[in-house]
């Protein structure tokens, strides 16, 4: 196996990821859980270690050399991220602890002061809890209403149904770029286009978009785009909120503290300029340095190359899984990326997860923080195999072989 016609080989990329080179339960590790958290290349691990060994100090505060170096490294990473998603300005790149914080920031700082009772936040049925619960909270706080665009049996957001829900009371639309439980690539461009015409801001949850697609926030023309470092081969505890500058400018700070101020007296505090207004306190400096290294690494391969390679591998995985007896695929959108959820016979997903783990194959099992999706399909949970560019066709064969073994055990 593994005779993939391609100009670049996954095998080369795989060697960049030290964690992939190990055995579990005496079997070579096959890591198919990158949608939960992706492994980090040596370039990221080394950048973090080098920073810790040589450059660490607090940022934006000291006149001494190390503080200067730390600041350069931290702000340098912000510039890299700006370039990576093609934001217009570095002021639009707010560094957060992850997608979850980014979305909460928008809910509390952008929506909460403006929402009136009867206003609506529109999301879709396939969102991660991180793109549901922050809106529920702000709706409770303001008397606004959360409304949900339906999905179909394939696990696709139906554009017409979504657009039908848009009226003058819709204050903001929040939707995933790529659905984490189902892999559906959502029609964000069309939604944004319609929303722009009506002056409705749109937040895209890009946690699963950025690692797999070539994201250009100016081309997308969204108002907010949120993503996490650890899903794009960077460290945990890092993330980004991209926000259109004019909107960020008009928003009050999210948290108060050091760094986010220009001048503090007990009468009045003058907030710092963008993006620092939203970054109170000492940030995750080493993590952000690692995230910058992840961006460099991804750009050295090129997102279009990654997207093309992964799409082919994904389609191959789906075709192979379809051939397994007793297979029920959950999520068969026509446009998908990286992820396949499934159930095998009546084997509970956790049993299957354990059996696969035993054969070295790491998959995610359970509700994937998307309980409404599970309810829609009438299942308590699913098994989910998710790919990154370090996976290859051999991995898929191992997955299929492990599934066959599981069937034997439960026969």
């Amino acid at each position: 196996m593994g005779a993939v016609a391609k100009t670049v080989t996954a095998t080369d990329w795989r060697a960049d990821f030290p964690a992939l080179d190990q055995s579990v339960h005496g079997q070579a590790l096959i890591y198919l859980d990158s949608a939960a958290s992706a492994q980090q290349p040596a370039a990221v691990i080394d950048a973090v270690a080098r920073y810790q060994r040589e450059d660490h100090a607090n940022v934006h505060r000291g006149v001494h050399t190390l503080s200067h170096r730390a600041t350069e490294a931290y702000e340098g990473a912000r510039d890299k991220i700006r370039g990576f998603i093609n934001a217009k300005s570095r002021s639009e790149i707010v560094l957060t602890s992850g997608t979850t914080e980014s979305i909460n920031l928008v809910a509390q700082s952008f929506c909460r002061p403006r929402l009136q009772p009867g206003d609506k936040i529109l999301i879709t049925h396939l969102e991660h809890h991180a793109n549901i619960v922050p809106w529920q909270l702000v709706c409770e706080q303001t008397g606004a209403e959360l409304i949900v665009a339906p999905i179909n049996e394939r696990g696709e957001v139906e554009l017409d149904s979504l657009l039908d829900l848009i009226d003058d009371r819709v204050f903001l639309i929040g939707m995933a770029h790529v659905a984490n439980a189902l892999g559906t690539v959502c029609p964000v461009e069309k939604v944004i286009e319609h929303a722009r015409q009506r002056g409705i801001p749109v937040l895209i949850d890009g946690a699963q978009g950025v690692p797999h697609l070539d994201v250009d926030v100016q081309a997308l023309d969204c108002d907010f785009y949120a993503f996490s470092g650890h899903k794009m081969f960077g460290p945990t505890g890092t993330g980004v909120l991209y926000g259109r500058e004019a909107i960020l400018d008009a928003m009050p700070p999210w948290q108060g503290g050091g760094d986010m101020i220009l001048e503090v007296s007990f009468d009045k505090t003058i907030y710092n300029e963008l993006p620092y207004k939203f970054e109170a306190g000492t940030p995750n400096i080493s993590g952000v340095v690692g995230l910058g290294a992840a961006v460099d690494y991804l750009q050295s391969i090129g997102m279009p190359t990654i997207a093309r390679y992964e799409q082919e591998l994904h389609d191959h995985m789906v075709a192979r899984l379809k051939n397994v007896d007793g297979m029920r695929l959950i999520g068969e959108a026509r446009h998908k990326a990286s992820v396949q959820s499934f159930l095998l016979d009546d084997i509970h997903s956790h049993d299957l997860g354990t059996i696969l783990d035993h054969q070295g194959v790491a998959i995610r099992t359970g509700h994937h923080c998307a309980m409404p999706v599970m309810q829609f399909f009438g299942v308590p949970g699913t098994c989910r195999a998710s790919l990154a560019f370090y996976n290859n066709r051999d991995d898929i064969e191992q997955l299929v072989a492990a599934l066959e073994k599981a069937r034997e055990l439960f026969a």
């Binding site: 079997q27 956790h350 354990t354 035993h358 509700h367 308590p380 949970g381 073994k405 055990l409 439960f410």
Partner: protein, 155 residues
């Protein structure tokens, strides 16, 4: 058969597969005197246990319903077989013995003859993430017989 396959068969022993496929005493128990829910938030396992305790303090019948993985269902099924006919206090004692057998590395808590079948669950000791599946029903039993109306959880 390699080691990994052997380990798997140690976790999913025939008796476990059998009880998960054909759970005994499955369903609601009419005129139950004691009941409790067990919820494992991580896995989504949800069990409800029913017991009818007679005037003399003996468990006359038990049953359960719910959904979950093979381990949690098999454990609940084996539980209903093991505790029916026991005094309430003895059943609670069983619950502690079984949970400590599954959760503490050493020494193995001994099981008396009527709990012999529960040795089928021993395989989970090697799977920290799955121990909770096996102990869930036993926590619920304890809650039910203590008349603690709060659902038992594994958290």
């Amino acid at each position: 058969m390699n080691d990994a396959a052997r380990d798997m068969q140690d976790l999913y022993r025939e008796l476990v597969i059998d009880h998960s496929r054909n759970p005994r005493h499955f369903g609601r128990l009419e005129n139950a005197t004691h009941t409790a829910d067990g919820i494992n938030p991580l896995c989504g396992d949800k069990l409800r246990l029913y017991f009818r305790v007679g005037a003399g303090g003996r468990i006359e019948s038990s049953s359960f319903e719910g959904s979950g993985c093979a381990i949690s269902i098999a454990s609940a099924s084996l539980l209903t077989e093991a505790v029916t006919g026991l005094e309430v206090d003895d059943a609670k004692h069983c619950s502690s013995t079984v949970t400590s057998r599954l959760t503490t590395a050493m020494p193995y808590a001994d099981l008396d003859a009527r709990l012999e079948n529960l040795k089928a669950l021993d395989g989970v000791r090697a799977y920290p993430s799955r121990v909770k599946c096996a102990t869930l029903a036993w926590h619920a039993l304890h809650a039910a017989l203590s008349n603690d109306m709060k659902p038992a959880t594994t958290e």
